[in-house]
């Protein structure tokens, strides 16, 4: 009709030129796919934004995933094969017979990141180790109070009372003096949190008065160096060219922050992400020819924590009643699709300290009703449950879990309001201030030692850092933990932990729900091991073909 035979040549020519220019523009950029940037980059769709770029200052798994293994190294690390402690920045170490003095011998060939904002002049030496630990131990240290002065992991394991002194023997030898023997000390140094920062960078910042930049524009020795961070949107890392281990195979590592789990799946299917965290629709992924699904058994627990400082949960009977009224088996089937075990206590069955005699709270509406009446709430009560807004290995869908609990508790007359509208960093800040009544949260262990399940989240020390979301403190419980750390005899320790677990089972500051597996999906062309049973994701061995 009109369009096919336009007669005015002027218009036609104009349109023709514009069209051909456009086509030229578009076609000019075809054909150079070989050297394309995306072939040398890995995009990881992460579930949330990091709170800091220094793992010393946080405990959240999201931040650890984003930062710990990518930017930093530790003195010692867990070997992937057997979870034994092996060398890292320290090539060897020596523990005296009384267990109170530990000497580390450092590698001499470790270089720090060179970035737009920092150029290192020397390799790693003892000063960096001293700086990294003194910062969190010594309140008078110039960097101690930067970023809030909280070092939740170290404070919760009582690091500052444990370490008496750190001494520089020579440039490449450091000695830790402990106030008492502690069987979990080496394991704590190998965790994601015990990273080594650059003392030289800190000096440079201090001279310029920019102390706070140390945790925002990080410098470390890890396989990747920091390039940029856009809040809530992305983190960009480049390869660290002088990494002391094997050269990293890819040029660029990008974290695409995608809180929605369906959006992550969509991006994986639409080839916008190479690897995604906490995938949903497992069958869909396994069926797809280009995708693989991986799982690692990780040491974790998901729990319903009660704020024991606030009514009604300052009453032990109410906590017990709730514990009896929740059908954990149903949660495991609906939320974890059976890929998890019912948590009988805080410790997973695979931990050596697990005690079969502790059976936890069964599902019993009658007991729950009786307890609730005994507590003075025969007509029930109303409570808030805060559901964590991100997916974690220990709970892939906290909101649905909260809804299941809501339905369970309805049966004993408890009305549940679900609070789920905060973004992760706000959520975590409000929790630390104790604004919740009950919260669905969890914990992933940082190392195989059972102490890691107790001290960081339930000790009195962790209450002060706000990491003890139950705000529960029991000196008797703390004492069992302390005694267990005093000895290296496993049988002794197991006895103490069994006592501690009994207290938990009676007091119920939190109700363990499930121990799950951590999942991850990726495109088949992305190779290398990414997940460890403990702690965060590690991209140092990744390659793409």
């Amino acid at each position: 009709m009109m369009k096919s035979k336009v007669s005015r040549p002027l218009i036609q020519m104009k349109q023709f030129y514009m069209l051909s220019v456009l086509l030229l523009l578009l076609s000019g950029c075809y054909g150079d796919d070989k050297g394309s940037l995306s072939a040398n980059s890995v995009i990881y769709c992460a579930e949330g934004s990091p709170e800091s770029f220094n793992p010393q200052t946080v405990t959240s798994g999201t931040t650890i995933d984003a930062v710990s293994y990518q930017l930093y190294d530790r003195l010692i690390s867990f070997q992937t094969e057997d979870n034994e402690i092996g060398p890292s920045l320290a090539k060897s170490w020596h523990v005296t017979r009384d267990g109170k003095m530990i000497t580390f011998y450092l590698r001499k060939d470790v270089s720090f990141h060179q970035t737009d904002y920092f150029t290192p002049t020397r390799p790693l030496n003892a000063d960096d180790v001293l700086f990294s630990f003194n910062r969190l131990l010594d309140p008078a240290h110039g960097f101690h109070h930067v970023s809030g002065g909280k070092y939740p992991f170290f404070q919760s394991v009582g690091f500052s009372s444990l370490v008496e002194d750190i001494e520089k023997i020579n440039d490449y030898t450091v000695r830790f003096k402990l106030s008492r023997a502690d069987s979990s000390f080496l394991a704590n140094l190998a965790t994601d949190f015990a990273v080594i920062l650059s003392a030289e960078y800190a000096q440079q910042l201090a001279a310029a008065g920019n102390h706070q930049k140390i945790d925002l524009q990080p410098i470390g020795t890890g396989p990747y160096k920091f390039k940029e961070y856009r809040v809530g949107s992305l983190i960009r890392y480049y390869r660290h060219e002088n990494y002391w281990r094997d050269q990293v195979a890819i040029e660029q590592l990008v974290y695409d922050i995608t809180p929605s789990k369906t959006a992550r799946l969509t991006k994986l299917l639409a080839n916008e992400c190479d690897v995604i965290a906490y995938p949903v629709a497992h069958e869909k992924i396994t069926e797809h020819p280009n995708l693989t699904l991986e799982a690692v058994t990780s040491f974790n627990v998901s729990y319903l924590g009660f704020n024991t400082q606030k009514p009604p949960f300052d009453n032990k009977l109410v906590r017990q009643a709730i514990a009896y009224a929740i059908n954990k088996q149903a949660i495991i089937e609906a939320i974890y699709f059976g890929h998890a075990e019912v948590a009988k206590s805080l410790l997973p069955g695979s931990s050596w300290a697990h005690d079969e005699s502790i059976s936890g709270h069964g599902f019993s509406i009658d007991k729950a009703k009786a307890l609730l009446a005994q507590a003075g709430y025969p007509d029930g009560l109303t409570m808030d449950i805060w559901a964590l807004p991100v997916q974690r290995a220990y709970n892939p869908n906290a909101l649905t879990t909260a809804k299941l609990i809501q339905a369970d508790l309805q049966q004993i007359g408890v009305t549940v309001n679900i609070v789920s509208n905060y973004e992760w960093s706000t959520f975590s800040r409000l929790l630390a201030r104790g604004e919740h009544q009950a919260v669905l949260l969890g914990w992933s262990a940082d190392h195989p030692d059972p102490d890691n399940f107790f001290t960081p989240i339930l000790s009195c020390a962790s209450m002060n850092t706000g990491n003890n979301r139950a705000f529960w403190c029991d000196p008797a419980f703390d004492d069992f933990l302390y005694q267990s750390l005093q000895t290296t005899n496993t049988r002794e320790r197991k006895k103490h932990y069994a006592q501690a677990l009994r207290i938990l089972s009676e007091e119920v500051p939190l109700l363990p729900i499930a121990h799950s597996r951590r999942y991850q999906a990726r495109h088949k062309n992305v190779q290398g091991e990414l997940l460890h049973p403990f702690g965060g994701i590690d991209f140092s061995g990744v390659s793409k073909n």
Binding site: M1, I11, L25, L37, D256, N421
Partner: protein
């Protein structure tokens, strides 16, 4: 023309006054302390609160408070976002260009598709082509945008894999933020991967722009059709026909131009509609624009964010209105003489 300009500026002034009055009163209507709602300072120390009280004059009369608020606005200070505790002004400056880019491209798309189709329908009045175009327009107008967006992702990104489903640009390309309009930034950047990035950005905008453009395009079809029909009925067209001009000459020389003029008047009105659609589309396609940010603010009860986002978006739409009015007036001398403006 002078009267026209003065009338428009007058309108602008009073609308802005009403708008700021609305956002100002919102801080009292939202739960919580009005001062905190206005400034967004949720963790302020007592000293900081004192300073804020002074700055916002909250111990004085309501008029003084309003003028203090206005002076803060005039300085470009919209307060802090309650959720992220960063300056809202800088967040908006970062996000608004992405929305402008998406809306403008969608508007262009809607016009370039909708208007010619409308003309074709008018020329073939009451024939098969007309009926088909009208039914397609009706269908496109009735489809809800959130559904269309999801189906587009399902079909074109997941099943066919032609276009990406989220964002403005693949994250591997590092393009410096200069203007905020992605295409301009890419052309300005000195990255060696510039052309790869340009292609990637074009692929990213296709789906969201088409989704946003669908509803306005159908409106343009109907507008173009009715205005063309009206023009074809006029006497000068009849005269031209009587003079023996061919059908094509009549359409391209006279009818198209005159009916376009009527359509331009409606672009401003359509723009508000388009931005609303773009807000929903931004959420679906994770487009880093102000609409998504505003919806997130609502979810997080970021009152300062809601208030400022509302103000900025409305101002933006209003400015577009006025600009189209001016364009219309410049093109159509008759409109300038009109004493009673159209919008």
């Amino acid at each position: 023309m002078l009267v026209f300009i003065i009338r428009r500026l007058n309108l602008f002034f009073f609308t802005m006054l009403l708008l700021t009055l609305l956002t100002f009163s919102l801080s009292f209507l939202f739960p919580g302390d009005p001062l905190v709602n206005l400034s967004g300072q949720i963790n302020a120390t007592p000293q900081q609160l004192e300073q804020l009280k002074l700055a916002y004059k909250s111990d004085q009369g309501i008029m003084q408070q309003y003028f203090a608020y206005l002076s803060h606005l005039a300085e470009g200070d919209l307060g802090l976002s309650m959720a992220s505790q960063t300056q809202i002004t800088s967040e908006i400056i970062n996000l608004l260009p992405a929305t402008i880019e998406l809306s403008l491209i969608a508007l262009m798309l809607a016009m370039f598709v909708g208007i010619p189709l409308g003309f074709i329908a008018a020329v073939n009045h009451r024939k098969t082509a007309d009926n088909i175009i009208l039914s397609v327009a009706m269908l496109g107008y009735s489809v809800p945008v959130f559904w269309l967006g999801l189906v587009a992702i399902l079909v074109f990104s997941i099943q066919l894999g032609w276009f990406p489903s989220a964002g403005q640009l693949s994250l591997v390309y590092e393009i410096e933020h200069v203007t905020g309009i992605q295409f301009i930034d890419i052309l300005l950047s000195d990255s060696v991967y510039k052309w790869q990035a340009f292609r990637d950005a074009s692929a990213h905008i296709v789906l969201p722009a088409c989704v946003v453009a669908t509803a306005p395009a159908t409106i343009f079809i109907r507008l173009a059709r009715s205005s063309m029909l009206a023009v074809l009925e006029t006497h000068y067209i009849k005269a031209a026909r009587a003079k023996g001009l061919t059908f094509r000459q009549i359409i391209f020389r006279h009818a198209v131009r005159n009916s376009l003029l009527q359509i331009i008047r409606h672009i401003g009105l359509q723009f508000a509609n388009l931005v609303t659609i773009a807000m929903i589309t931004e959420v679906i396609f994770s487009w880093p624009g102000i609409g998504r940010w505003l919806i997130e603010s609502i979810y997080q009860r970021d009152y300062t964010g809601i208030q400022s986002g509302l103000l900025v978006l409305s101002t933006f739409i209003f400015i577009v209105h006025i600009v189209t009015d001016f364009i219309y007036a410049a093109l159509n001398p008759l409109a300038r003489e009109h004493n009673h403006g159209t919008s």
